[in-house]
Amino acid sequence: MLTLECPYCGVKAEETELTAGGEAHLKRYGPGSSDEDFESYLFVRKNPKGVHFERWRHAYGCGKWFLAARCTATLEVFGTYPAQSKEPPAELQAKIRAKRPNWEGYR
């Protein structure tokens, strides 16, 4: 059972307090978008073995959504940050790059 620190309330929360929301940093495609773009938005996920960015909600705590960078193979947590982020914070990206030199980046 994972523990993730909620970046809003600072609590190191256990998985039972959290709900998972799947891959982070997806771009929403609405009416007028191509079938390919819409398919990739709705159905296509990276599902990597390694560094992954995810949405989590501190559902049984402060109720806030946040994002987490985590290794799906070792379960190492690189960091968490607010959901209101267009991309992972630069220092978090630098930290991941230092630990995983072959990381391809979050996109």
Partner: protein, 993 residues
């Protein structure tokens, strides 16, 4: 035969005798005994039969690794099968029964399997029960079911209670032997929050039995002093009888405390499941001795050498008068010395190594015992008990050199570190050639959330078997400063791996060499699996069932995979181990459930009127975590009659429905209208203050997810009603979009579901009833449909919505939750003369179906879009975007062949079964009949006096009047005509009065 010695036994108190029964026979033991030591002490060498061949079985081990000595323990609500006698403490009056035999332990019909064992090899079931197919159901399955299963299933409700507990620690040290104690001392002195847990009731592990000296004291004294020291440290928690069952992600450790197994019925919880968050876990879990594979190694009286000395030293029990020892290392000579010290006879030590010249063998020789180096056991003689051994050359094929009479055999094949916890979360192992064991690879531990090691193995669990080095390792690993405790023990010569005894044994002997005595897997079975192409150890395990019994192969797995490696002509590490999975030893289902059973299995949500419903005949229906009244039963009335009465009364007079469970979410802010326009398929921003509008919500995949009436409270505030089960989900859905997608929009949401009690007042007399309460103008002119008013109704602060889900003149009245019951009772009192009567959810369902209103979860199932339900009128054409709009533009979603909502009327007036499918011509690619529609809601309508149904039918609305075939049970076909889904009051004359 085993017996109790006249003296000795460091754990038993001879002044406290205890009586217990085995298969109804009265026996005596002592306080401090385990069931196993008490049975052996009472001379009960044979304690059960094996699973497959029903061979006689006795106690083989002295701890958690025991494969054979399982019993049914207790009576009635405290009966439990498969209790491991070696880890069950004896208590006064314990009632035990042996397992896997019929009619009796001594005489067993199933033992015929032993005689035909040649015809029951590995994979027998897979190979045999294939053909003919009909035989499976009528012949094979009944036989397999009769003989399957270990022990008997309890028949009564569990009388005990169980609980969870939570703990946090910097370091959890698992194992209370000298390694665990040394680690706890080091970590405790460093000021860390330490937990030290031990699965048995005693501290000290092997060292106290093996006569080790620590810091100039007997190990027993050192352990006693150390535990006292630890007990005085405020930062150290000691827990005996607590087994670490599994280690999971990020240091989450499950531990199983057996609080009252040895004091049943004393009022304490029987088991406690500890859910511990550990900063770091130190596994000081020791090692388990391996058996040797020689013919007849499963006969009662053949035991692990370490267990033999445990029984002698700990419990003063002799396994037999004459015990032959067979080994491949120096360690087993300790057993010889312990037996000699107890005054028992050791006819010989049979050592597979070419020579035995270490300190311990010499000490045994000096006591006049024959040491037969380079020898092995060709076979054990005896059936239900050992009568002797046939000695051979280890290098040979098993020709008997001499026969030695004995009644017990102590075997030692080396030690396997207990690496389960180390491995549960991904810790890797390496093969230690010199000691012939898998041990933790310190370079590849399980890692935690910071990417650093979260587990450290110490002592024997780390592959270190000498006490001095064990203490140094445990001290260092726990961050100890200064010198580690020092130990003195005999120096041992190297062991030599022996996987088969003798090494050239032929098929006849290999068929009698047991690897897994609980599941009856022999050397020959694993070799057969290899010949048949099972190369992966995981496949071989499943094919032969090696290590799949309740002991999970604690003593058998390494021997099994060594035999497999040999058969595959590859090195042992190339074969690898099977996966170690929690729990380490079985834990009770009760402990997993904890307190969550019966009424508190899950939280129950009650409306303010719940208690009234309960005392007025409510027939409950679970809806999410709520209980809603399905109907209200009057004395002598059936459910069906009650529902019909409630409907007739609502249609003809006035009914009350407790609608408090409906979700109520406030959405407020400058951008609230814009936000709701995205959330709902229709326009909510244009809804005038004071009005209500029915709305639909879809997922991004276009499918209908929830519906409800939206109310504009003020210029910037809306109240969204959701379905009963949807409140939390929809609130979360709103927050998701607000926080993660449109976070610059100024909107707040609040789930106020439980702040209001809500009552639907429906029926021709609804207005009269509200007028009788008085205080608000509810006339047709002042209060039209789909509007709301706030005011004081009969003295209650009320907000009234004029909305109808029944098709009747209807007002839904919301009052503060605290006034809900009083308001409900006021309505009933005021309505007496008007024929008021409460109605339940079933009446609500039928009335809405009579009106053709859809229900989320009936007409929808996650694959239905609003357009399928002819709800185009609720989908805004003006909006560029809403959640689900893009998805609804996909080709398949606009296909005219989609199944769409229609009414269905049976030709004979009967009720079609729910979920029935309408058959079409022809068959599909799988040879199944083609279908063209299905029933989504179906009821008997008391209003119309016939069955009515709604369903989704291919191009349904274009096919009005067509008759469809609905095949139901037993080849019967119900014919139903496609009709308008609005069955009752099509023009809405009843509600618009």
């Amino acid at each position: 035969m085993s017996t109790r010695l006249s003296k000795g036994g460091r754990l038993i108190d001879r002044t406290k005798p205890l009586s217990f029964t085995f298969n109804g026979r009265r026996m005596k033991g002592y306080h401090g005994d385990t069931l196993a030591s008490a049975l052996l002490g009472a001379g009960q060498t044979m304690v059960g039969r094996s699973f497959k061949y029903h061979r006689p079985r006795g106690v083989m081990a002295s701890g958690a690794e025991e494969p054979n000595a399982l019993v049914g323990l207790g009576q009635g609500g405290r009966f439990e099968p498969n209790q491991r006698t070696t880890t069950t403490e004896l208590f006064e009056g314990a009632e035990t029964i042996s397992q896997n035999h019929w009619p009796s332990l001594e005489f067993d019909i199933g033992a015929i399997n032993n005689k035909v064992a040649r015809f029951l090899p590995a994979g027998f079931y897979y190979k045999t029960f294939m053909f003919p197919r009909f035989a499976w159901k009528h012949v094979f399955e009944p036989i397999v079911r009769q003989s399957a299963g270990l022990g008997k299933v309890p028949q009564h409700r569990d009388e005990d209670r169980y609980e969870y507990a939570y703990a946090f620690a910097d370091v959890v040290i698992v194992g209370g032997g000298i390694a665990g104690i040394a680690s706890a001392l080091a970590a405790g002195r460093a000021g860390k929050r330490v937990w030290l847990i031990e699965q048995s009731a005693h501290w000290g592990g092997r060292a106290v039995v093996d006569g080790v000296q620590i810091d100039g004291q007997d190990a027993g004294d050192w352990v006693k002093n150390a535990i006292e020291t630890l007990g005085k440290m405020a930062n150290v928690t000691l827990r005996g009888r607590t087994m670490a069952a599994g280690l999971y992600d990020h240091g989450y450790l499950l531990a199983y405390e057996r609080i009252a197994d040895h004091t049943p019925g004393d009022g304490r919880p029987r088991h406690r499941l500890w859910r511990i968050r550990a900063g770091h876990v130190v596994t000081a879990t020791g090692a388990i001795e391996r058996p040797l594979s020689f013919a007849g190694n499963d006969i009662p009286g053949v035991m692990l050498a370490s267990a033999v000395r445990d029984y002698v030293v700990n419990w003063g029990v002799s396994p037999g008068d004459r015990t032959v020892i067979v080994t491949n290392s120096d360690d087993a000579y300790r057993t010889a010395l312990a037996l000699l010290d107890a005054g028992l006879v050791v006819p010989a030590v049979i050592d597979a190594r070419p020579e035995a010249k270490g300190e311990l063998p010499e000490a045994v020789r000096a006591r006049g015992v024959r040491v037969l180096a380079g020898h092995g056991i060709a076979k054990v003689k005896g059936g239900k008990e050992v009568t002797g051994v046939s000695v051979c050359i280890q290098a040979g094929e098993g020709a008997e050199i001499e026969s030695i009479a004995c009644d017990a055999v102590a075997m030692s094949g080396g030690w396997s570190p207990v690496v389960h916890l180390w491995s549960h979360c991904g810790g890797k192992l390496l093969w230690d050639e010199a000691q012939a064991m898998f041990r933790p690879d310190p370079k590849r531990p399980a890692t935690g959330d910071d990417g650093a090691a979260m587990v450290t193995a110490v002592g024997a669990a780390n592959g270190i078997l000498t006490p001095h080095e064990i203490l140094a390792d445990a001290h260092r690993a726990a961050g100890g400063t200064g010198t580690a405790p020092g130990a003195v023990a005999a120096v041992e010569a190297p062991m030599q791996p022996v996987w088969i005894m003798p090494q050239g044994a032929g098929p006849a002997l290999r068929m009698k060499m047991w690897l897994d005595p609980q599941n009856d897997v022999k050397v020959s079975d694993v070799q057969l699996a290899a010949r048949e192409g099972y190369e992966s150890v995981e496949h071989t395990k499943r094919y032969t069932t090696l290590g799949m019994a309740t002991d999970q192969g604690k003593i058998s797995n390494i021997n099994g995979l060594a035999v497999l490696s040999d058969a595959l002509s590859q090195a042992i590490p190339a074969t690898g181990t099977t996966t170690f999975r929690p729990p380490y030893t079985p834990i009770s289902m009760g402990a997993i459930a904890g307190e969550a059973r019966g009424e508190i299995f899950q939280p129950l949500r009650r409306t303010p009127m719940h208690g009234w419903h309960e005392t007025h005949g409510a027939h409950w229906e679970p809806v999410g975590q709520w209980r809603r009244a399905y109907c209200y039963l009057r004395s002598g009335e059936g459910v069906h009659d009650a529902v019909n009465r409630e409907i007739r009364n609502t249609r003809n007079a006035v009914g009350l429905l407790d609608a408090s469970t409906l979700g109520k979410i406030i959405v407020k802010g400058p951008d609230a209208g814009r936000f709701l326009d995205m959330l709902y398929t229709n326009l909510m921003s244009t809804l005038p203050v004071g009005k209500c509008r029915y709305g639909l919500m879809c997922t991004e995949n276009g499918f209908l997810s929830d519906d409800g009436v939206v109310v504009r409270l003020t210029e910037d505030t809306w109240l969204c009603h959701t379905t009963t089960g949807g409140a939390e989900r929809i609130h979360g859905w709103m927050e998701d979009w607000l926080q993660c997608e449109w976070w610059d929009w100024k909107v707040y949401t609040a789930n106020v579901t439980e702040e209001y009690a809500q009552v639907a007042v429906a029926g021709p007399n609804a207005r009269k009833l509200l007028e009788k309460l008085g205080g608000m103008d509810v006339s047709k002119e002042a209060f039209p449909a789909m509007e709301w008013r706030e005011g004081t109704l009969g003295g209650f602060r009320a907000r009234i919505y004029r909305i109808s889900f029944s098709g009747e003149l209807s007002y839904e009245v919301a009052v503060p939750a605290s006034e809900g019951l009083a308001f409900w009772e006021a309505l009933l009192k005021a309505g007496e003369a008007l024929g008021v009567m409460p109605y339940g959810t079933e009446a609500m369902h039928i009335m809405r179906a009579e009106k053709g209103f859809i229900m989320i979860g009936d007409e929808t199932d996650g694959t239905v879009i609003p357009q399928d339900l002819n709800l185009q009128w609720a989908i805004s054409k003006k909006k560029d975007d809403y959640l689900g709009k893009r998805a609804q533009e996909r080709k398949h979603m606009v296909d005219p062949d989609r199944w769409k909502l229609v009414g269905l009327e049976t030709l004979d007036g009967s009720v079609i079964p729910d979920g029935a499918y309408a058959a079409a011509e022809g068959v599909n690619a799988n040879g199944q009949r083609n279908m063209q529609g299905r029933v989504t809601s179906t009821y008997f309508s008391p209003t119309l006096g016939k069955g009515i149904a709604m369903g989704l039918v291919k191009r349904g609305p274009d096919r009005m009047g067509e008759v469809l075939d609905f095949p139901v049970d037993n080849g019967k076909v119900v014919k139903a005509r496609i009709v308008d889904p609005v069955f009752f009051d099509k023009d809405g004359e009843k509600q618009n009065v």
